[in-house]
């Protein structure tokens, strides 16, 4: 029953997103913009033939995970949740015998689906520029799943802010935390080339492991250790976010 309800609420959330394409399009174009700008600024520093960490690809392939993660971290689900809270629809759902877990998983599931579509579009748009997925179709599938996992984690975090603050402004501001999380990673060069303080920060930043997992899928032929660490981070943080969201809704007055 709970999963059926989550599915129904997920379908509704997807319908909601499709009916507001103006909110969906920036999640594709802004990450593309960053990809083009970052490659344009640093591409010449890291030529394909002379840069071992690129493993024969161009710098765009190294930068693609940053753009994918950025696209997966818009957390628009939380803003729709604030609208539901402000408009009274969230109370309508809470007054129904809907499992509190389904209330959380419905939106998060929809966020995962949206992320799969946007990530696939980003990768497809990158292919004509010589970027390939070295791990092949299975690797591409894992890349989509790992990214969707991160989208779920971040949307869960944003939903927590929405549930606690019940304010669109606070939720929007909370989402800005992604920028320090994204930039305290091996964003431009591998972790072993970072300065020591940055390396320490990146080591403690969970986004690092997802980025490295995605990067390995693009540049390597299945580096399972890196992929496994990425999935482990997503599973642990995902479980924590779902548990915190459900607990917050159960105690929501």
């Amino acid at each position: 029953m709970s999963m059926t309800q989550a599915g129904l609420l997920g379908q509704r959330a997807i319908r909601e997103a499709l009916r507001t394409p103006e909110a969906l399009l920036p999640t594709l174009f802004i990450p593309l913009f960053f990809l083009v700008v970052n490659v344009g600024q640093a591409g010449k520093i890291f030529p394909s033939g002379d840069t071992p960490f690129l493993k024969g690809q161009n710098y765009g392939a190294f930068q693609l995970p940053s753009s994918i993660l950025l696209a997966a971290s818009f957390g628009s689900a939380a803003l729709y949740l604030v609208e539901d809270i402000e408009g009274g629809y969230f109370d309508k759902l809470r007054a129904s015998p809907v499992s509190r877990t389904a209330l959380v998983l419905g939106r998060l599931g929809a966020e995962a689906v949206k992320s799969v579509v946007i990530t696939a579009a980003l990768v497809l748009l990158a292919l004509p520029f010589g970027i390939t997925i070295a791990s092949g179709p299975l690797g591409f599938l894992l890349l989509l799943v790992l990214t969707a996992g991160w989208a779920t984690v971040f949307a869960g975090f944003m939903q927590l802010i929405a549930l606690k603050s019940r304010s669109a402004a606070a939720t929007n501001s909370g989402g800005l935390i992604f920028f320090p999380l994204l930039f305290l990673t091996p964003n431009f060069v591998p972790r072993n080339m970072l300065t020591r303080p940055m390396e320490i920060a990146a080591t403690y930043n969970p986004v690092t492991y997802i980025m490295e997992g995605l990067r390995s899928l693009i540049l390597d032929d299945f580096a399972w250790a890196a992929i496994g660490r990425g999935f482990a981070v997503v599973v642990v943080l995902g479980a924590v976010m779902v548990a915190l969201n459900v607990a917050t809704i159960r105690n929501y007055d």
Partner: protein, 266 residues
């Protein structure tokens, strides 16, 4: 007596910016099955807080509440299956159509897809929204939204329907339409628990009333009993209105209410 709503010493405290707020301070309610029960009170008296506790939307600080025989704190999902709720703010999703909203609501209550579609069609007819059924809710008028909200509270044929100020902000024609619908719903056997600030509405619709002020019930009875009590106590030579009963029991006077208005000069 078969009770649809029973509350004993219901209390709600919460922390506000200025310290502890005692929103509800020990409310007892006994509403018989099949009644239309009016719950009146000035702004901030504790009406909505009481309704939110009875409908599982708010935790109960102390005391107990049963709705349709189910303890709302011990078995909230059991209570939710038996109640319909339409709150002050029409709880609708503006991006869905009226039909989609009703179908989703019915499916969340466990109906199959065909049963949900059939129930949505019935309700759209009941609240006279058949023509607007496939339009997005954001284009509905205030009255249409209220009627759709009412319909969404009825998808599972609840035993008790809670309505928190269902006609606030509606024009007189829309208000009369909602009243007619409430009478029809009550005729089918649904108990209605209604909060309102419109005394005429309470007089027209309610079998019994309770008036809450400052978190406590200060008067309870049928509209006729409450008016007769005031006429007798004040030795009035005319039939008082429910407005006069309300002003009497809440200690408010027209002068005091007028005095609450502060003139602001630029």
């Amino acid at each position: 007596m078969n009770l649809a709503v029973e509350a004993n010493q219901l209390v709600k405290h919460y922390s506000g910016r200025s310290g502890l707020v005692e929103a509800v301070r020990g409310v007892d309610l006994h509403v018989a099955a099949g009644e239309v029960f009016g719950f009146l009170g000035p702004n901030g008296a504790g009406k909505s807080t009481t309704v939110r506790m009875l409908t599982t939307l708010m935790t109960i600080t102390s005391g107990s509440a049963h709705v349709a025989g189910v303890d709302v704190a011990a078995d909230p999902d059991g209570a939710r299956r038996r109640i319909g709720v339409a709150l002050q703010e029409a709880g609708l999703d503006p991006r869905q159509t009226g039909r989609e909203l009703l179908v989703l609501q019915a499916r969340l209550f466990g109906s199959s897809r065909p049963a949900a579609a059939e129930r949505a069609a019935e309700l759209l007819e009941l609240v006279d929204l058949v023509e607007a059924a496939d339009r997005r809710i954001k284009g509905y008028s205030g009255g249409m939204k209220r009627r759709l909200d009412l319909a969404s509270a009825l998808v599972h044929e609840p035993e008790v329907l809670f309505l928190d100020e269902p006609t606030t902000g509606l024009d007189p024609a829309s208000r009369l339409t909602v009243w007619d619908e409430l009478r029809r719903i009550n005729d089918r056997g649904t108990t209605i628990f209604l909060t309102t600030q419109y005394l005429e509405e309470a007089d027209q619709l309610c079998d019994r009333l309770a008036i809450i002020d400052d978190g406590l019930i200060v008067r309870e009875g049928t509209p006729a009993e409450l008016k007769a009590e005031l006429r007798e106590r004040r030795a009035l030579d005319y039939e008082p209105t429910l407005d006069e009963v309300f002003l009497d029991v809440t200690g408010r006077t027209r002068e005091r209410v007028a005095g609450d208005v502060q003139e602001v000069r630029a």
